[in-house]
């Protein structure tokens, strides 16, 4: 069974097709880098997979289930553009909130474990409002990994991260992949992404322009896919 299967997905903004007949599959343990220009539909596709909106046509299967099923959502982690933690709450409170929402049995232990994992245990009772940018981003990473999802969806994860946060994220992603979990990320930071990627998909105007395994060639020259399959 594929970890993720996108089958003939169409998505419209009014009458304008933002996604046209997207077909994708990801095996468990693979890492898909979703590339393409701004407005190519990367974010729309990721948000549709994450279940924030329903496709107009076609179907999305995550571990065999639909994105809006409770069982599926328990297995999906999402990092978007925002950090998705509350400024008014402390780091620990934020993580405990999400641990409870995901129905984890020992919310406090799990939250503390992930604070340690991301190097935030020292400031666990500090309000997020008072955190530096890098700390906030690491907390956002901890929030997405907290419930140990089988499928991780990351929208431009390396943009706006500081070096330490990038290091933390890359380490966690490597560990996750080693454990057989699946990662799908949209990105402009080709170098960071291609180091991890096993597959590359390029979107162009809502269509799949390229889909294939990530080759050493691509890692050596990240601009290659754009040069070969992008328009002009």
């Amino acid at each position: 069974m594929n970890a993720l299967a996108v089958e003939g997905v169409w998505k419209y903004y009014g009458d304008y097709p933002a996604l046209r007949d997207i077909n994708l599959t990801c095996e468990a343990g693979s890492c898909l880098a979703l590339i393409g220009r701004n407005g190519a539909g990367k974010t729309t596709l990721l948000r549709t997979i994450a279940g924030f909106s329903r496709p107009m046509k076609g179907a999305i299967k995550i571990l065999g289930g639909s994105p809006r099923e409770t069982a599926t959502r328990r297995n999906v982690g999402f990092i978007g553009h925002g950090i998705a933690v509350y400024d008014e709450l402390s780091a620990l409170e934020n993580l405990m909130l999400y641990a409870r929402l995901y129905g984890l049995t020992d919310a406090r232990t799990k939250a503390l474990q992930w604070l340690t994992e991301t190097g935030l245990e020292r400031v666990r009772d500090g309000l997020v409002r008072e955190f530096s940018r890098g700390m906030r981003q690491r907390l956002a990473v901890a929030r997405a990994f907290l419930h140990e999802p089988s499928l991780l969806l990351l929208d431009e994860p390396f943009t706006a991260l500081d070096d330490r946060a990038i290091a933390v994220l890359q380490r966690l992603l490597r560990e996750a992949l080693a454990q057989g979990r699946t990662v799908v990320m949209s990105t402009h930071q080709l170098r960071e992404a291609l180091e991890l990627a096993t597959h590359v998909t390029m979107l162009n105007r809502g269509q799949v322009a390229f889909d294939g395994p990530c080759t050493p060639e691509m890692v050596a020259d990240p601009g290659l896919v754009y040069a070969r399959y992008g328009e002009g």
Partner: protein
């Protein structure tokens, strides 16, 4: 073809209304209220038209949520706009009539008050639509609002009736009134014409809305290129 049919319908509706104006002008003044009474020939039909349009809006909203077809969203907005326009006509004719008969422009009568609240509610629908940018979200939000608003229609009506019956009724309104059978026939024609007019307006507005949506998507396409 479809457009010609539409315009033909519109012309027929106008012809009926114009003809009826002459017939109504020929009627003798009503016993208690004189000529002012005759505004009822336009007042009642606009309420019927408004009711028809707003019910259409509700059904289209539900259909949109079920099918996600933007055709129904366009119908909903077209019908609501026309409904609000006819509500305005109903309110305006009511006010014009109230001045000579009740001696004031406005009375906090059950029907008038409910009509005003409905008007405000559906004006809110149009404002909400106007403010939401993303087409799918706009259609969803508007449909949800339309359903919530329609639930309120009977509640508003009955609550205001209870409210008014608890207070003394306005004393300056005491007409028995008489309504001869040939007047009823004219009323029937006027209702028909007004509903036809509403249908024509909704269809025209619907075409415009669909054209607008096409333009929007072409603009997005142009931006993407």
């Amino acid at each position: 073809m479809r457009e010609k049919l539409l315009y033909a319908l519109g012309v027929i509706a106008f012809a009926i209304l114009a003809r009826d104006i002459f017939i109504i002008a020929g009627f003798p003044p009503e016993v208690a209220q004189g000529n002012a009474f005759k505004i009822i020939f336009f007042h009642v039909p606009s309420w019927v038209a408004a009711g028809t349009a707003l019910t259409t809006a509700l059904l289209s909203s539900i259909l949109f949520l079920v099918t996600k077809n933007f055709k129904y969203d366009a119908t909903a907005v077209a019908a609501t706009e026309v409904g609000v326009a006819f509500l305005s006509v109903g309110l305006a004719t009511g006010i014009l009539w109230a001045r000579p008969i009740w001696g004031v422009w406005w009375v906090w009568d059950a029907r008038l008050t409910s009509a005003l609240i409905l008007w405000l509610m559906y004006a809110g629908y149009l404002m909400l639509r106007h403010a939401v940018e993303e087409p799918t979200q706009r259609a969803n939000f508007a449909a949800v609002f339309s359903i919530l608003a329609f639930i309120d229609v009977p509640i508003v009506y009955f609550s205001i009736r209870w409210w008014r019956t608890q207070h003394p009724a306005p004393v300056f309104f005491s007409s028995g009134g008489s309504f001869p059978p040939d007047w009823s026939a004219v009323m029937g024609w006027n209702i028909l014409a007004m509903v036809m007019l509403a249908c024509v307006l909704v269809s025209v507005r619907l075409q415009q809305e669909q054209a607008q949506r096409e333009i929007d998507s072409l603009r997005r396409l142009a931006h993407a290129l």
